[in-house]
């Protein structure tokens, strides 16, 4: 048996290299997203933001990381020690492993699985455990409230997100991310955000709520429950929650770009002249451009909107987003059945 495993070793090593090639840019992306967040919100609010460490503050994220690593990990006396300690791992791992099925450019994908959409959706549904366990194991009131709020919020918005995904699957006829992107080929008008506009909005809003970001960051609510489920966390264990939150923000942005904005497809496709002009731009660049737009929107929304109240949040999820999807799924199904062009012909 050991011989059998040894024969597979080169293949394993190759997969490991690919995984590292995904994880390192992802972690760097997370680090610079926190920096971008502070800068962007700073400028929106007429401040400068961090500018001391390195050129224009460019080394700020690394300073933050080093600081967090050397901070003490406090384990409260009345907490459940082991669960308290492992809860950050339960949050981080689902946020990372969903990346296995995400395509970055044509054929640049780690695991080109048929059920890619379902896989990512299933992995994001596990993320709620980290929140619940962290909140409960802390044995602190604020952590408990935060965990409960955020768990109820996450699961409510997961429904509308799932229904919005169904619309995309109907339109593309596949759960494979590459197939979904290729189904949007042709021109900008073929991208799914046009026929699926309501679902696009639903998915976007639910994505923001799923990642517990402003204006739906009630789980954190500094002014009422201090920081929510991770009040008691410090040092690296706090950093892991942070990492997971930003990694899922980037994941949601990728999903939005892939499912509704044609992923790596060029926006100038099918336009004579411009198409050839921009032919040299690699697919990865278009993808990252679209992703950056959604990431910027995350920060922009945070700087612009006041926080929702809990009853408003639940109302929006159950009474606005879910009915919208329930209406639009049959509409899409009939459009596909009747081969309505230019999207489904």
């Amino acid at each position: 048996m050991i011989m059998g495993l040894l024969e597979e070793l080169p293949a394993f090593a190759w997969i490991l290299i690919k995984i590292v090639a995904i994880l390192i840019p992802l972690l760097l992306g997370v680090a610079y997203l926190t920096f971008a967040e502070r800068k962007v919100i700073g400028y929106i609010q007429g401040r400068i933001g961090p500018n001391r460490v390195g050129f224009r503050g460019m080394l700020q994220p690394f300073a933050d990381i080093i600081k967090l690593v050397f901070k003490e990990i406090i384990i409260p006396v009345r907490s459940n020690r082991y669960l308290f300690f492992v809860a950050p791992i339960f949050t981080l791992t689902p946020a990372l492993i969903a990346w296995a099925a995400i395509p970055f450019a044509p054929n640049l994908i780690l695991a080109n699985i048929n059920a890619g959409v379902l896989y990512v959706f299933a992995m994001s549904s596990i993320a709620v455990y980290g929140i619940l366990i962290a909140g409960w194991a802390s044995n602190s009131k604020y952590a408990m409230f935060g965990a409960l709020r955020s768990a109820a919020q996450t699961i409510s918005y997961e429904i509308s997100m799932g229904f919005a995904l169904v619309g995309v699957l109907i339109a593309a006829g596949s759960m494979n991310f590459q197939d979904i992107i290729l189904a949007q080929q042709g021109s900008l008008l073929n991208w799914f955000f046009i026929p699926l506009l309501p679902l696009f909005m639903v998915f976007w809003i639910s994505g923001i709520a799923e990642t517990n970001r402003a204006p739906f960051d009630l789980a954190e609510g500094e002014s009422e429950i201090v920081a929510g489920f991770h009040v008691e966390y410090s040092g690296v264990s706090f950093a892991l929650f942070f990492l997971a939150e930003y990694a899922s923000m980037i994941l949601i942005s990728f999903l939005l770009a892939i499912l509704f904005l044609g992923g790596w497809l060029s926006p100038f496709e099918g336009i004579p002249g411009l198409d050839e002009w921009f032919a040299w731009v690699p697919g990865l660049a278009w993808m990252l451009l679209k992703v950056s737009f959604f990431l910027f929107a995350y920060l922009w929304l945070r700087a612009t909107f006041p926080r929702y109240r809990y009853d408003q949040l639940m109302r929006l999820g159950w009474k606005v987003l879910i009915p919208t999807t329930i209406v639009w799924i049959p509409v899409v199904a009939v459009l596909v059945k009747l081969n309505v062009g230019p999207w489904f012909s």
């Binding site: 394993f12 997969i15 690919k18 995984i19 967090l68 690593v69 901070k71 003490e72 990990i73 406090i74 409260p76 006396v77 009345r78 950050p88 791992i89 791992t93 990372l96 492993i97 296995a100 099925a101 780690l110 695991a111 080109n112 699985i113 048929n114 379902l118 549904s125 409960w136 044995n139 602190s140 009131k141 952590a143 408990m144 409960l148 768990a151 699961i155 409510s156 997961e158 429904i159 799932g162 229904f163 169904v166 699957l169 006829g173 596949s174 008691e232 040092g235 690296v236 264990s237 950093a239 892991l240 009853d311 639940m314 159950w318 009474k319 879910i322 329930i326 049959p330 596909v336 059945k337």
Partner: protein
């Protein structure tokens, strides 16, 4: 099909390993100076006077139960969405009936006020 899932499995192991490694490094290099005040649960300036594990509003359970039901419905939608072009109008109508029953349940909970929060 399985060879496509092997990277996923390895990714899961690496993901777990990364979390464990980061926590491990953090707990080795960081100082450890316990203190009674520091290690007590957070409160607004006073000691805590009751356990945080208090029974909760039943509303949260209701949300969780409704979530399970709707999640199951999503599970039924997935294969249907993929097979839609091949199962004809019959399949479309079958899902129409399914969705109709779901909508009846949804209207029921709406009218009962199960979606209201105060």
């Amino acid at each position: 099909m399985l060879q496509e899932y092997l990277p996923v499995l390895i990714f899961i192991i690496v993901g777990l390993g990364l979390g464990v490694a980061l926590l491990g490094v953090g707990s080795i290099v960081s100082p450890h100076r316990p203190d009674k005040q520091k290690n007590s649960p957070y409160e607004c300036g006073f000691g805590e006077f009751e356990s945080a594990r208090i029974p909760f509003d039943v509303r949260f359970y209701l949300v969780a139960i409704l979530f399970i039901i709707f999640d199951l419905e999503t599970a039924f939608f997935f294969p249907w969405a993929l097979a839609l072009t091949e199962i004809g109008w019959f399949g479309l109508l079958a899902m129409g009936l399914f969705l109709g029953l779901l909508v009846i349940g949804f209207i029921f909970e709406w009218k009962k006020g199960a979606l209201e929060w105060e």
